[in-house]
């Protein structure tokens, strides 16, 4: 049970900083979809905090801007917005794919992308997708009544399991990401079931191919669930960029980053699935670019198809 005395909902950053200055015992929440389940038996148990500061209504945290070269999303934007927005569905297809795998419709209405990043779970679904969009985080703080801003690459913002680079009263204001119009993408995830599922492994793949459809011009791959923090698969990316699109190269790429895996449990399983997901996500992205590869060659390595049986 979460007990608190006061619940504040600041409307702008000034209000927010005034609150953080005047209160000593406080906790920041946004969607509350992680906080309330956390304050229960078996996890944090009964928790008492004097003050709750709900940042989900701060205007700066609700920016939503799509420009030619970048997209700006406030940290209080919900996952449901990523799922339903028409433009995001058309031009940023990786995001609705992530969203549909994220919890369920009801939770998505409340869960914020900022909250997901700041909680920094090793299995955070949003983070790999944002990494493949070259996400930059914009942090706002106040020092001696003076507001300041600092920008970081998302991969540098996440420091470790449940740890991010936020000091004192700093707040994650918004995210800036590449506009990936012209790219094809795919998101693969596996857990224990098909809804309300926490990732065992998830991979985000965003690729661009040459106009003659023969080579990879840009490849971005990121994974979550296999190590302390979600990561870009640099070796695979560097290997594929500029190379011909064929089965052999994809298979070679899939095993290059295996040593990043250091999960606490089920290491062998995650290794196997990561390899398979790299291959599958690239193939699925290529399918969207109307490129089909020879499945039987891939099948000898593993099968991209599913076995469909009745007994």
């Amino acid at each position: 049970m979460l007990r608190y005395d006061n619940y504040f909902i600041p409307k702008n950053l000034d209000d927010y900083f005034n609150l953080t200055q005047s209160l000593n015992d406080y906790r920041i929440v946004a969607g509350c979809t992680d906080t309330l389940p956390w304050a229960r038996e078996g996890r944090a148990g009964d928790v008492y905090i004097k003050n709750i500061i709900d940042v989900s209504k701060i205007d700066d945290l609700n920016i939503f801007k799509i420009e030619k070269d970048k997209i700006t999303l406030g940290s209080a934007i919900t996952f449901q917005k990523l799922f339903l927005d028409k433009i995001i569905r058309k031009d940023f297809k990786i995001l609705p794919q992530v969203a549909v795998w994220f919890a369920d419709d009801q939770i998505r209405e409340q869960a914020t992308i900022g909250g997901n990043i700041v909680n920094a779970s090793p299995a955070a679904d949003g983070t790999p997708a944002f990494l493949t969009l070259n996400c930059k985080v914009i942090i706002v703080g106040q020092d001696n009544k003076k507001k300041y801003q600092r920008n970081l690459k998302l991969e540098n913002f996440i420091l470790g399991r449940n740890k991010v680079d936020l000091k004192n009263n700093e707040i994650l204001s918004h995210l800036e990401m590449d506009n990936i119009k012209g790219y094809n993408c795919s998101f693969e995830k596996v857990g224990h079931r098909r809804s309300l599922v926490i990732s065992t492994v998830c991979v985000s793949c965003v690729i661009k191919i040459s106009s003659d459809q023969k080579t990879f011009t840009d490849v971005r791959l990121a994974v979550a669930g296999v190590c302390e923090i979600p990561k870009r698969l640099i070796k695979a990316e560097n290997f594929l960029i500029g190379k011909l699109i064929n089965e052999d190269n994809i298979i070679k790429a899939s095993i290059l980053d295996i040593d990043i895996i250091n999960s606490r449990t089920r290491v062998a399983y995650r290794k196997e699935v990561l390899k398979n997901f790299i291959i599958r996500s690239i193939i699925n992205s290529l399918k969207k670019a109307k490129i089909s590869l020879k499945e039987n060659i891939i099948n000898n390595f593993y099968s991209n198809k599913k076995e469909n049986i009745h007994a």
């Binding site: 049970m1 979460l2 007990r3 608190y4 005395d5 006061n6 619940y7 909902i9 929440v29 969607g31 509350c32 979809t33 309330l36 389940p37 229960r40 038996e41 078996g42 009964d46 709750i52 709900d54 989900s56 449901q80 339903l84 927005d85 028409k86 569905r89 058309k90 297809k93 609705p96 794919q97 549909v100 795998w101 919890a103 369920d104 419709d105 009801q106 939770i107 209405e109 409340q110 098909r194 809804s195 309300l196 599913k306 076995e307 469909n308 049986i309 009745h310 007994a311």
Partner: protein, 625 residues
């Protein structure tokens, strides 16, 4: 307690209230406004029974601090319809038989309402995807999906509303007719009150202090600080029991509250009754205890050695051993062309009825002790309670409250004793509602099993001998272990004529969470092994799985494994009907996978790929806000 003021619109009515500041929207609806159609199945956003509309969006109210909804419009299940005036969606649920225990149904109706409002042309894949946040434990979802599809068609005009009236008019007999469930209207409208929805004037709230050790002596229990918490009316322990302190379905070996020692993590030690839930929880946190840890047993085979005893008075950790013997298995194995030996394990499983345990108790004006609870066996509970409370049996009254799912998990009298004790001590009504977490750690589960199976079979597929030994972890208390072992033994070798068999099912005490009754009670575990073995043998002998079962199936006149003569045995009919129903492609089951010719029938679903709603035209999605 701190309060805050909120103004909002609830089901079309504008209200201003002062509310406990830490309340979630769920608590505000249920406790302050008595809108109990919205349920707390888990409190952690995993089950969907708390779904409500906030400014038109469906959210989980257990994850929504009430402060967040100030100034907003809330719509609950109560707005959707009433038992005599059901919405179309509710009529569809009613006509399709989509409600069983009913606990998840208000949430399902809300989810269906949300889907059809924003996506009136939703196809089945989209419906399934959008209902992914609502769990049902009783229905298997099938009739819920049917109901949503029918509601969609009626709302769009594709199907006439008279469909609901023209539904079934049995002419000759009501037996065999699809009469609509008589309890459905109260369930689809969220009007039915389960125990946690009930309130009584001056009601106290009970909370339970539970063991944090698997096996330990209770050295010192200090209630002083807890008793000093404002609002606490009483704290009860085993010392407050007036009569004989034990209960259990088969063996009465469990004390109402731990006596002298604890035998599993989660065992109840003390119960607090206070004027508010918060005061009760605060008192629990102030109870001081010191344990002396005892060596604990977590493996049933280890426990069988009896080096450590869980219940000293029984001198053994064996709960029950059921032996079944027929014929001569040595001869049988000698006559076999193929002998296969395998080991199987099944896991401990939680009932996960969506309604967490809850109950109320009070002493009525005639001095009768009354307990209202969703118990599966109030008759037996009354017996035990009268003995425990030292009351004549007619002075104990058990009233069954609507059960939000049982499956055997609500057979144990796991909390009613402490609840009754609090009511008797305070002479006030007392209510207890378990959190989901509390329910999971403290209540009985399905017995995990470890089976060693040896089968001897001739090359024409006839079973010559079976040796089945199943060991089950019974956990800290007997519960239904004896019955589960018995049923598992009697049914274990399946519906087959076997002349030589040796079956042993063994239930053992350990310091794990108790195992108890769970739908199919031992037969699930034992028949699983027989059916797996038959397919293993079928493959080795190149016999079709249906055929190998037909070869061995019981017929009328056969003796069962317990030597009972069967007057009738429909297994062969069942098998041949199933072959037809499933368009079974004959042949042994060894990877005919890719070569199967009867895939993609209408009877199965598509593989779930997620993203059904992403492939429909985005113009049709009006849910963009």
């Amino acid at each position: 307690m701190h309060k805050l003021n909120i103004a909002l619109e609830i089901n079309g009515k504008k209200i201003i209230r002062e509310v406990n500041s830490h309340y979630r929207l769920l608590d505000f609806l249920r406790e302050d406004l008595d809108l109990t159609g919205t349920k707390e199945g888990c409190g952690a956003g995993e089950c969907g029974t708390c779904s409500v509309f906030v400014n038109g969006k469906l959210v989980k109210s257990c994850l929504m601090p009430v402060a967040k909804v100030n100034g907003m419009k809330i719509e609950t299940i109560e707005k959707q319809g009433s038992p005599d005036n059901l919405s179309i969606i509710q009529k569809a649920f009613f006509s399709q038989g989509a409600s069983q225990c009913g606990f998840c149904i208000p949430g399902m109706v809300m989810a269906a309402t949300s889907i059809l409002r924003t996506n009136p042309k939703a196809n089945i894949e989209e419906i399934k995807e959008e209902m992914g946040g609502n769990i049902c434990r009783c229905t298997g979802y099938q009739k819920i999906f049917e109901a949503v599809e029918i509601a969609r068609d009626v709302i769009s005009g594709k199907l006439n509303e008279s469909f609901f009236e023209n539904y079934e008019k049995p002419e000759k007999s009501y037996l065999g007719a699809n009469v609509k469930r008589i309890d459905a209207p109260s369930k689809v409208t969220g009007r039915l009150k389960y125990a946690a929805d009930m309130k009584m004037p001056n009601m106290l709230h009970m909370q339970v202090f539970r063991s944090s050790r698997p096996h330990a002596k209770i050295e010192n229990l200090n209630l002083t600080k807890a008793l000093a918490v404002t609002g606490v009316e009483t704290i009860v322990t085993c010392n407050d029991i007036p009569g004989i302190d034990n209960f259990g379905v088969f063996i009465e070996d469990q004390p109402v509250l731990a006596r002298g020692k604890v035998r599993y993590v989660g065992e109840a030690i003390a119960a607090v009754a206070a004027t508010t839930l918060e005061a009760a929880r605060e008192a629990i946190s102030k109870i001081e205890i010191s344990y002396k840890d005892l060596p604990a047993l977590f493996d049933p085979e280890e426990a069988l050695k009896d080096k450590i005893l869980i219940h000293e008075e029984y001198k053994t950790n064996l709960v029950k051993h059921i032996p079944i013997r027929k014929g001569n298995i040595e001869k049988g194995f000698a006559n076999s062309d193929l002998i296969v030996e395998e080991n199987f394990t099944t896991q401990q499983v939680e009932h996960a009825y969506l309604e967490p345990m809850a109950g109320l108790s009070y002493v009525d004006p005639d001095g009768v002790l009354v307990i209202i609870s969703p118990s599966q066996n109030i008759t037996h509970h009354r017996h035990m309670m009268s003995k425990i409370m030292k009351l004549p049996i007619h002075k104990v009254r058990f009233i069954m409250s609507p059960v939000g799912g049982g499956f055997g998990g609500k057979e144990d009298m796991i909390y009613q004793g402490m609840l009754a004790l609090c009511a008797m001590k305070t002479r006030l009504p007392v209510r207890y509602v378990m959190t989901r977490e509390e329910d999971i750690i403290s209540t009985a589960k399905r017995h995990p099993s470890r089976t060693n199976y040896k089968i001897g079979i001739s090359k024409n597929g006839k079973i010559q001998a079976v040796k089945l030994k199943m060991i089950c972890d019974g956990g800290a208390y007997g519960c239904s272990t004896e019955g589960v072992m018995r049923k598992g033994a009697i049914l274990g070798c399946g519906p087959y004529k076997i002349d030589n068999l040796e079956v042993d099912t063994i239930g053992v005490y350990t310091n794990n969470t108790p195992s108890g009754a769970f739908r199919s009670f031992g037969a699930f575990q034992s028949e699983f092994t027989t059916e797996s073995m038959l397919d293993i043998c079928a493959e080795k002998l190149s016999i079709d799985p249906f055929e190998i079962r037909r070869i061995n199936a019981f017929v009328a006149g056969d003796l069962t494994h317990t030597k009972q003569k069967l007057n009738s045995a429909s297994i062969k009919t069942v098998l041949s009907e199933l072959e037809k129903l499933s368009s079974w492609e004959k042949g042994p089951s060894n990877c005919r996978g890719k070569n199967r010719k009867d895939l993609n029938s209408n009877d199965n679903r598509l593989s779930c790929e997620l993203g059904a709603r992403l492939s429909s035209s985005s113009d049709e999605i009006s849910g963009i806000k």
